[in-house]
Symmetry: C2
Subunit: 93 residues, 2 copies
């Protein structure tokens, strides 16, 4: 299993637009083969921090996800909404 | 449910010591009331990045955790092993 933590710092006034843009990405990703979980989280003390926490069966599932239509169409549009992003892939130890 | 992502950037040569120090913290935390999951993850491309991902039923469970003997005895010792840490509490959206 590989866990992805993808943090986004959203530009002021852009959180609603970001959430709307990623809604179909979340829905389609959750249905993918090899996706264990895929959800968006909001920092309880700073609503401008929106972070995906994703669990995937293996790297092959992530590769398919990264090449899916919903990923390649939606993810490139997200940079307009954020000032910063950090994506890390983790293995449990 | 509240999800905590607590990232630690470990000093060079200190990852084994950090992992040994947090082993009893992980074991005791997983047994706590209100703990849904509590695990340590390693960045697959940078083993100096060690991140806890924790799921708790509510803030009261986190408050009890923060006041537990294992937390108050172990967590203050961890700053010696790391150069940086970032703790964020998240709600799912």
């Amino acid at each position: 299993m590989i866990t992805i933590v993808a943090k986004n710092i959203i530009k002021q006034g852009m959180t609603k637009k970001f959430k709307a843009a990623v809604k179909p990405l979340i829905e389609a990703s959750q249905k993918e083969g090899g996706c264990i979980s895929y959800n968006l989280y909001e920092d309880v003390s700073d609503p401008s921090v929106l972070t995906f926490i994703e669990q995937w069966e293996d790297q092959e599932a992530i590769d398919r996800h990264n090449n899916s239509a919903h990923f390649t169409q939606i993810v490139p549009t997200l940079s307009a909404f954020r000032t910063e992003s950090e994506v890390r892939l983790y293995k449990i130890i």
